[in-house]
């Protein structure tokens, strides 16, 4: 546990990517199994101990230290694991000597065996055997979500670097294997056979797009499709010993099959398909578009079980973008146009209420395409995708192959109302802003109605200035939240706005971010709520 704690601690303070890679690679080489496998799982966010939540740790702390002091400290630090590791009451006398017997493997075994009832008893026993860094590592490991600036991709790259194998190969095996990845280490570190992942319904990493900034592309080389507003999914069917297994994966590789049972039986062939998950309706692109708003899909996400009523009222389907495998044949090396032809052929064999094809947008030239993009908002579509006709299907975001060309954001002037401290890199800075629009004429006593929250779109220098503004213009404090005087105007950019029962204003913005800080604009000139309501497309 000590080496892992040391690794985490050093990683926190390391900014250079190469240095991070070297640190992780070195740890993976020098640490025995299964510790290194568990550590890799922790870094890639693959560990889950349902009995230990952040709230478990909070409750433990509140039993041991004054709850008010705990809350003040947690608010200052901005990270539960770190606050708890610092405030954990140590036995009288010197700090405990790190316990060498307590390996990552043993910790994982203990954590896996915990239940909600035993966790509050057992977790303290582990914490008592560790020093500050060890406690931090343990809590991070137990509650998941390291948030130390290491992406799953970086950890896998470090693995590849440690044992001199290709990261693409690691990715290929990754999603079929489970921590502590004994087969993966056996292959890469010990020269054993590659893991046997054939005939498993595993996730393949998605091909992603770069934003098309100000450039243009030649439509002879690129095909255009609408960018539908659902969630990107991968549907995988594999038949083993005559039994087909089908899985639906989200963009991050999470298995969301249970939420969409109607899709699992609908695929009659072994294939790996890439598409947009949508709910049937007529919001996006009208009746012809056939898709309801993102809001409708959202009602179905994250459910463990789905009622018959829901299946009837919000039936899901996949609008197909691409095919990675069909009938067991890997198509990823083929050019897009080839894959597209095969996908078209396949779609004819699929039930139309569950699958359709993302249509190619035909335009005379780029200018014509730009005009068509202008209509995307009225059609409630996110924008356009541009795909190089000869591009193979490559995991990740490779420059020049696929572009996303979103419609321009909507803009509205809002007034800052509340600010909250951020967490992670922004702990101690007031970086989360709630803003509102006027519910009438501000010069005739109108009030501000909160309409959204944003925590991005500004530079570090602007953040410092905003933080100062908040501190100097606070009129009220509610725990970690500060209410500010209503003096600062934000030009807020957002993708769309929908009606919502959850918010007092009756609407919810999608992807609001600070577009410009209008230090110059008087608050009474900010927009009224009617302006926002007029933009609702549901």
């Amino acid at each position: 546990m000590q080496a892992f704690a040391q690794l985490l601690d050093t990683l926190v303070y390391t900014t250079s990517r190469n240095r991070k890679l070297a640190l992780i690679a070195n740890y993976l080489r020098e640490t025995p199994d299964p510790d290194r496998g568990w550590a890799l799982a922790a870094l890639t966010g693959e560990l889950d101990f349902p009995a230990v939540k952040s709230s478990t740790v909070r409750n433990l702390m509140k039993e041991r230290v004054d709850p008010v002091l705990w809350t003040l400290a947690r608010d200052f630090v901005g990270d539960t694991a770190e606050t708890a590791s610092l405030m954990w009451p140590e036995a009288q006398g010197a700090a405990p000597a790190p316990d060498a017997e307590l390996t990552v493997g043993k910790v994982v075994d203990t954590l896996s065996a915990l239940t909600r009832t035993t966790a509050p008893r057992e977790l303290p026993r582990l914490l008592d055997r560790l020093d500050v860094n060890g406690r931090f590592a343990l809590i991070k490991l137990a509650t998941g979500g390291m948030r130390i600036g290491i992406s799953a991709r970086l950890a896998k790259t470090a693995f590849a670097q440690a044992f001199d194998v290709a990261v693409e190969e690691v990715e290929e095996y990754w999603h079929a294997l489970a921590p502590p990845y004994a087969e993966l280490f056996d292959w890469a570190a010990e020269g054993g056979n590659p893991p046997d992942v054939a005939n498993l319904p595993r996730f393949r990493p998605f091909m992603l797009a770069h934003p098309l900034e100000d450039g243009q592309v030649d439509l002879a080389d690129y095909a255009a499709e609408w960018k539908w507003d659902g969630i990107r999914v991968q549907l995988v069917r594999v038949t083993k010993d005559g039994v087909p297994a089908t899985r639906l994966y989200s963009r991050s590789g999470d298995d969301i099959s249970a939420s969409f049972p109607e899709l699992l039986d609908a695929l009659p062939v072994d294939a790996v398909l890439d598409g947009e998950l949508l709910v049937q309706g007529d919001t996006q692109g009208g009746a012809e578009g056939g898709a309801a708003s993102f809001n409708a899909l959202q009602q179905r996400l994250g459910r463990k079980t789905v009622s018959k009523k829901m299946l009837a009222e919000a039936p899901a389907f996949v609008r197909l973008y691409d095919a990675l495998l069909i009938d067991g044949r890997d198509l990823r090396e083929l050019p897009w146009s080839e894959r597209r032809a095969r996908l078209e052929g396949l779609t004819e064999r699929l039930p139309p209420e569950r699958f359709d094809l993302s249509q190619i947008v035909e335009a005379r030239d780029f200018g014509h395409l730009a005009e068509m993009r202008e209509t995307a908002r009225e059609e409630a579509i996110e924008g356009l995708m541009l795909k190089r006709r000869d591009s193979p299907y490559i995991a990740g975001r490779k420059v020049g192959l696929w572009y996303k060309w979103k419609r321009d954001p909507l803009l509205i002037d809002c007034v800052l109302m509340y600010a909250q401290r951020g967490s992670g890199k922004r702990s101690s800075f007031y970086s989360d802003y709630t803003f509102g629009c006027w519910d009438g004429d501000p010069d005739a006593g109108a009030e501000l109605l909160p309409v959204g929250k944003a925590y991005s779109g500004f530079t570090d220098a602007e953040l410092k200035k905003l933080d100062r503004h908040v501190r100097q213009n606070t009129v009220n404090r509610f725990g970690p939240v500060r209410e500010t005087d209503r003096s600062l105007v934000f030009e807020v950019a957002f993708d769309s706005v929908h009606s919502s029962k959850r918010h007092k204003s009756g609407l919810a913005m999608r992807f609001p971010r600070i577009h410009r800080i209008r230090w110059d604009k008087p608050a009474h000139e900010a927009d009224r709520i009617e302006a926002l309501r007029a933009l609702i497309r549901d």
Binding site: V12, Y13, V65, D66, V68, A73, V77, L86, G424, S427
Partner: protein, 343 residues
């Protein structure tokens, strides 16, 4: 007879000693100021009369040229030195005594006595040994006006020997690099250098130009700092394997490009919190503070055992809560202009 302690009033810009018409660490220019120590958020320039220890006055003279030094005639002001342990009688029958606070060279707590009532204002203080200044002394009083910079239970400063060992280990492990230590120019920088000497490190230490004069001032006041060199006088190769000390603002500045592969360290109590270190791109956090940590703040209040505790600046809510839990009378003073140093 007036109400108890009506002669001392906290105002947003400082503590007002009413009968003496005198302010303690005022945030704006006043006719008469008692100053606890030389840091900028306590010692502003431009007062009519400044009453402080001789060391603090020398530091202020260096920083503000208040006319105390011969030949620097700007902003004339009367400087009244009061040595540690001495008492000065102020108008209105108020006695002020300066007692060591252990924060930086010349730092003092100020004991005010009037009509049989005793008030101690700590300014900033610490309880750890520091080779660069006189140690804190506990003074009995009725009202204890304390700082609370590190007034959260997460702030426990480790022994300084441990942090010095970390710094020296980083230096030994990276002979091609230099270790750039960010340290506040008044107090922290000199303490780090003196502690390095105490830990047996006698190599030349390189300084950012802005620190030279303050280091000389410390040496003139009997704090030996060993061989100091200016970064600007030396080449990258000469500085390899050395320690460089610079103000925190220089850490991520273009200035540091003249150094050979700098490992960025920072000496501050805030380094106890990982994200604070990350925000500054610090690779080697050194938890070294010139303030009392949580245990010392609370132990000091218990030791002084005042009838009432006033908390001036920092994490006042948490210390207030601690007082409440121990059924101690306490209040927070909302002073403006006090900043967390190093931030």
């Amino acid at each position: 007879m007036s109400a108890p302690f009506s002669w001392i009033r906290p105002e947003p810009w400082g503590v007002h000693v009413v009968p003496a018409d005198c302010w303690v660490d005022p945030g704006r220019a006043v006719d008469r100021a008692l100053v606890t120590h030389g840091h900028a958020d306590h010692a502003r320039g431009g007062h009519g009369e400044t009453i402080a220890t001789p060391e603090t006055l020398a530091i202020m003279a260096l920083r503000y040229r208040t006319g105390i030094e011969e030949g620097s005639g700007e902003m004339p002001s009367k400087a009244t030195p009061v040595a540690y342990g001495e008492t000065i009688r102020l108008p209105g029958g108020v006695d002020a005594t300066f007692v060591p606070a252990g924060h930086v060279l010349g730092s003092a707590q100020i004991l005010l006595e009037h009509a049989g009532e005793r008030v101690v204002i700590t300014g900033d203080y610490k309880r750890r040994a520091d080779p660069t200044c006189a140690p804190f002394e506990v003074v009995a009083c009725d009202i204890f006006i304390t700082e609370a910079t590190f007034g959260l239970p997460i702030f426990i400063h480790p022994p300084i020997e441990q942090e010095m060992a970390k710094l020296l280990a980083a230096l030994r492990g990276n002979r091609d690099c230099c270790v750039l230590v960010g340290a506040y120019a008044l107090g922290k920088a000199q303490r780090v250098i003196a502690e390095l000497r105490a830990a047996g490190h006698h190599d030349p230490i390189y300084l950012h130009g802005s620190m030279e004069k303050m280091c000389r001032l410390y040496e003139e006041h009997g704090v030996p700092l060993g061989e100091l060199r200016l970064v600007s006088d030396h080449t990258k190769d000469e500085m390899r394997g050395s320690i460089v000390v610079a103000p925190p603002s220089a850490l991520n500045d273009r200035w540091s490009r003249r150094l050979p592969n700098a490992i960025t360290a920072m000496a501050s109590g805030w380094m106890r919190v990982r994200q604070r270190a990350r925000q500054r791109n610090v690779e080697l956090p050194l938890v070294i503070s010139d303030h009392a940590d949580w245990n010392e703040l609370t132990a000091t209040i218990e030791e002084v055992d005042p009838a009432e505790t006033w908390i001036t600046h920092g994490r006042e809510e948490a210390l207030l809560r601690w007082c409440e839990l121990g059924q101690r009378r306490a209040r927070a003073l909302a002073l403006v202009g006090r900043e967390d140093e190093d931030e």
